[in-house]
């Protein structure tokens, strides 16, 4: 049944293109229905699937002469991310209810993107995964270049080139692994079970890992993320931060680390204090956390604050992956989910609720508008989202970051200090943005009486509510995710990792 998430999304995109011109309302409703159906499918599968092991969805021969199969499967990790995709897809459409310009094409590209994201999370055959992974790039470009704002063509092209270079690195690694394993199969399980030589893994691992991590915003390859997020229209930045960056993190875990576990092992010598690729990437992730937070602290543009906060939060995920212990890894997966929800919410507030009404994102200009009176709902939503993002207990962010920090404490005790610093700065930049945008001292009567801002619409309230509720549910009862993530991490697929550096 899960396979239908892909087909229905693509079908919806196709139907949208066939709609008569100029009927934006019909396009919206069709897109929303499509997204709702796919979301329902992911939700039902999520609720039904309580064990977390890998379940095959579809498995048919695709290119027999190369042993490549059209093989879709889902385990606990992919189910969590599929659910995330479903939620973000629905809310993203709710937050783009005001799109009038070429609406039909907008939603068609949007659904194409969603469908391929589902495809990536569902693929078990690595060629298939790569195919979906690359399809994602194209709609991203057009969504930003056509419907975006600030320097949209630059931002779109930068994002596309970064992603494409990343996927080129992944492709080199995958082809090399496929040929080295005898060209019999590209199934994840088969390749993960093949004993690649340690020397091969030592160069293939960083290649594939960095290839995916570029999309996950690994410092110093993160620069596409803030510009891309800022240029993108609201729904696209929600997808970008919420789901697409997770594709990178998912690829790191699912492909790079699963296929080449020995690449994480020690080099046997020390260079600048680094003893393995694991050390290198952990330090890069920590730099990302602290750097992202620091830079977010000084931004003038509201959306850039959120953009850099994404870099910082994605650093947590990559750091969690590098801890290589169960709590760190499961924390990383929970953080993927949590950050997807929260980044989506924040971008919705900034892009849709604030920017579409005030037409500016300059924090200095937003302050005098007295937004906490003008659009109180936006202010409240942002406060809640900010609290969740800072990692206050009761929200998903807290659980995830706590698990990761415990994992880091086991693996890299020294780095924990730096992570703590990142957390503190994280509180600071949210606080600053909140204060400057919503609660700045209103200027007195001297300021021209600005025209009343349009009120927050029903779809916006609905979307914000969904995201907040999900974050709270996960925050209060994280077992809902962990119950299927932990068994998935204990499955035979990660045996290599467990024998490698897993502690």
């Amino acid at each position: 049944m899960l396979a239908w998430t892909i087909y229905i999304s693509f079908l919806g995109a196709l139907l949208l293109l066939l709609l008569p011109k100029g009927n934006a309302a019909a396009a919206r409703i069709l897109a929303l229905l499509t997204a709702l159906v796919t979301f329902a499918i992911t939700l039902v599968s999520f609720l039904q699937h309580r064990t977390g092991e890998m379940l095959t969805v579809t498995d048919v021969s695709w290119i027999p002469s190369l042993g490549i199969r059209y093989h879709l499967a889902a385990d606990g990790i992919s189910l969590v991310l599929l659910l995330l995709t479903g939620i973000i897809a629905v809310t993203g459409i709710l937050f783009s209810w005001n799109i009038e310009h070429r609406a039909k094409e907008f939603f068609a590209f949007y659904l194409l993107l969603i469908g391929s994201v589902y495809g990536v999370f569902l693929s078990y055959d690595l060629l298939l995964l790569f195919v979906f992974y690359e399809i994602v790039i194209i709609p991203k470009y057009f969504l930003i270049a056509i419907w975006g704002s600030t320097r949209r063509e630059y931002g779109a092209m930068k994002l596309v080139l970064y992603s494409f270079i990343g996927s080129a690195m992944v492709l080199i690694g995958l082809i090399a692994a496929y040929v080295a394993a005898g060209e019999k199969s590209m199934a994840l399980g088969d390749l993960a079970g093949f004993p690649f030589s340690a020397h091969f893994q030592m160069w293939a691992f960083p290649l594939v890992f960095v290839g995916f991590a570029i999309l996950a915003g690994l410092w110093p390859f993160h620069t596409w993320a803030p510009t891309g997020h800022v240029a993108a229209p609201t729904a696209a930045s929600m997808l970008l931060a919420g789901v697409v960056m997770k594709l990178g993190a998912y690829g790191c875990l699912r492909v790079a680390m699963t296929l080449f576990p020995l690449g994480l092992g020690p080099w046997g010598f020390h260079f600048l204090g680094f003893g393995s690729w694991r050390d290198v990437f952990a330090v890069l992730a920590v730099i990302g956390i602290v750097y992202g937070a620091m830079v977010a602290l000084v931004q003038k543009d509201f959306k850039f604050v959120i953009g850099y906060s994404s870099v910082s939060h994605m650093g947590f995920i990559l750091l969690g992956l590098m801890t290589l212990n169960q709590i760190g890894l499961s924390g990383a997966v929970v953080q993927m989910f949590s950050h997807g929800i929260l980044a989506g919410l924040m971008f919705a507030v900034v892009g849709r609720m604030v920017y579409d009404r005030t037409h500016t994102r300059e924090l200095a200009l937003l302050g005098p508008m007295n937004l906490n009176r003008a659009i109180p709902f936006a202010a409240v939503t942002f406060v809640v989202a900010g609290m969740a993002s800072m990692g206050l207990p009761g929200f998903s962010g807290f659980v995830a970051e706590l698990m990761i920090v415990i994992g880091v404490w086991h693996a890299f005790p020294i780095l924990t200090v730096c992570v703590g610093l990142g957390l503190v700065v994280g509180v600071a930049y949210i606080w600053r943005a909140m204060q400057k945008a919503f609660f700045a001292e209103a200027e007195h009567a001297s300021a021209a009486p600005h025209e009343a801002l349009p009120p927050i619409t029903l779809p916006e309230r609905l979307g914000a509510l969904i995201l907040i509720v999900v974050s709270v549910i996960v925050g209060i009862y994280p077992q809902v995710l962990l119950n299927i993530i932990v068994p998935a991490l204990n499955s035979p697929l990660f045996n290599g990792l467990r024998q490698g550096g897993w502690r």
């Binding site: 290119i63 979906f132 270049a145 056509i146 270079i165």
Partner: protein, 507 residues
């Protein structure tokens, strides 16, 4: 010396004969009956007659699989050559049908004749393992292409391009012939397997490669490198792609590439077997492989980098063709059975995509007056179907899945790595360069989808905004796009034919 078996020869050459007969009929009908009719009618009738001939030839090739070898490889037919011939005929049909809409000449019959004669030349070219026949067919092909390039007599660009093409072509033909004569001198034979045997015999004595053989390698590579537009023999390509009438340019960019690459592979892999050398990283040894590896690497780098700065879509396609020639040369560098399959898959799907892209460019040129990037502004609002097809073609060329171009690249790189890990550096370079290529393809798509139509168009009435596309051209373009998508999603359709044919040909 064996005697010629005329029955065999007839059986072997029948498809070519059919095409020639159809060509003559088309020419006669055009000149005798239709002279006074409008050009569009004449083009349609001539193209349909020519296409019918091609269809009959295809039917013959499909239904009578042959395994014939006349005069020790002078001419031969096996499932592999037949497969390539079918591909060439299909491409010729598509070119003819797309040309029906053009108005650049009154000499309709002659134009169709030249396209089909070039096709016949290519059909002979791929079905021979003899240097003389290869050279003669190659000249038949080249001479037809020179004239096709110059066919638009109203535009000086067309003649200029043809002159350049002719001068470069003549020179490279001389190089090729020189190389062939050296080969004959070395081996006392013009048959590729015998040449290989002679090379083997001299290599068996343990002496290094004969210097004359080295010269022959270099000149042969120059000759074929010109045909496939590889760096540094590519100078004609941008001018020809830009100056030639659109159908001719499309034909040069698609069909002639298929035939040239196939025969290039044959000559190098069969004729120069034993003089390969090695292009493995840090382990270069003398032979033709390192020569080709360098040519391939330079083509990929130069083609992709120069394409970035092009403002004319035709020139952009020309430089991208140079880059693609670089990728395809990798298959010759690795010269295994698998890489022949990969090469064929790549070149056929590449030809489909290029042909389609030229089809779209031709229509846009006719309606907007040029092929510069700005002429494509806002095309998606003016011709949605055409734009969607262009989207498919360009992304396929860029190698985005699930289009045919992606699988072509994937299979090609797998087959190259399969021949040994030493060629990894070429694969890495190729993949890195294809990441660059996305940039310029997106530049075109950005114009089509993102940019708004120019002011005068935007202000015109809705009726004038829409670009009317001739039905036949549009149908062909849509079919080509469908083919690109289909072969990308289900590569096996084409692949299992090719594998079976290659195995049956005993390559």
């Amino acid at each position: 010396m064996s005697t010629v078996n005329y029955a065999q020869l007839w059986q072997l050459a029948l498809p070519q004969v059919i095409v020639v007969v159809a060509t003559l009929i088309a020419l006669a009908v055009d000149l005798l009956l239709l002279r006074a009719r409008p050009i569009h009618t004449r083009f349609t009738v001539a193209a349909i007659l020519g296409s019918l001939g091609c269809v009959v030839a295809i039917a013959r090739l499909v239904h009578v699989p042959a395994q014939v070898n006349v005069l020790d490889g002078t001419l031969l037919a096996n499932p592999l050559t037949q497969l390539v011939q079918i591909a060439l005929l299909v491409l010729a049909i598509a070119t003819l049908l797309m040309a029906t809409n053009s108005r650049f000449t009154e000499h309709v019959g002659e134009f169709v004749l030249l396209i089909l004669v070039a096709t016949v030349g290519m059909m002979f070219l791929v079905s021979s393992q003899d240097l003389l026949v290869i050279f003669i067919s190659l000249e038949l092909l080249s001479l037809s292409l020179y004239i096709l390039t110059a066919f638009d007599k109203h535009r000086p660009h067309s003649s200029e391009a043809a002159l350049k093409y002719f001068l470069f072509g003549g020179m490279s033909a001389a190089f090729l012939l020189f190389g062939f004569s050296l080969l004959y001198g070395l081996s006392n034979s013009t048959s590729l397997p015998r040449i290989a045997a002679a090379i083997h015999a001299s290599a068996a004595t343990g002496s290094p490669l004969n210097p004359l053989l080295l010269i022959a390698i270099v000149t042969t590579v120059i000759g074929f490198g010109f045909k496939v537009a590889a760096f540094p023999f590519h100078f004609w390509a941008p001018d020809v792609y830009q100056g030639a009438p659109a159908p001719s340019a499309a034909f040069i960019a698609s069909s002639s590439k298929v035939a040239s690459f196939f025969i290039f592979f044959q000559v190098m892999a069969v004729g120069f077997a034993g003089a390969e050398g090695s292009a493995a990283w840090m382990h270069f040894t003398t032979g033709w492989v390192p020569v080709l590896a360098v040519v391939a690497a330079l083509s990929m780098v130069l083609g992709n980098l120069v394409a970035i700065v092009q403002r004319s879509v035709r020139r952009l396609l020309a430089y991208s063709a140079i880059a693609h020639a670089g990728y395809m040369l990798l298959a010759i560098v690795s010269h295994t059975q698998q890489s022949l399959g990969a090469l064929l898959y790549y070149v056929v799907t590449y030809a489909l995509a290029t042909l389609g892209a030229f089809g779209v460019v031709a229509i846009v040129e006719q309606r907007t007056g040029g092929d510069r990037l700005e002429h494509f502004d806002g095309l998606s609002r003016r011709a949605p179907v055409l734009s969607a097809c262009m989207f498919v073609f360009l992304l396929s060329l860029a190698g985005i899945p699930p289009l045919a171009g992606f699988f072509g690249k994937f299979y090609l790189f797998v087959s190259v790595l399969h021949s040994g890990p030493g060629l990894l550096w070429l694969v890495v370079l190729a993949i890195a360069m294809s990441a660059v290529s996305l940039y310029y393809y997106l530049q075109v798509l950005k114009r089509i989808y993102v940019a708004n139509p120019s002011d005068e168009v935007a202000n015109a009435s809705a009726d004038a905004t829409t670009i009317r596309t001739p039905i036949l051209s549009q149908a062909v373009v849509v079919l080509l796009a469908a083919g690109v998508v289909l072969f990308g999603c289900a590569p096996h359709l084409l692949l299992h034919w090719m594998d079976a044919a290659i195995r049956a040909a005993g390559f």
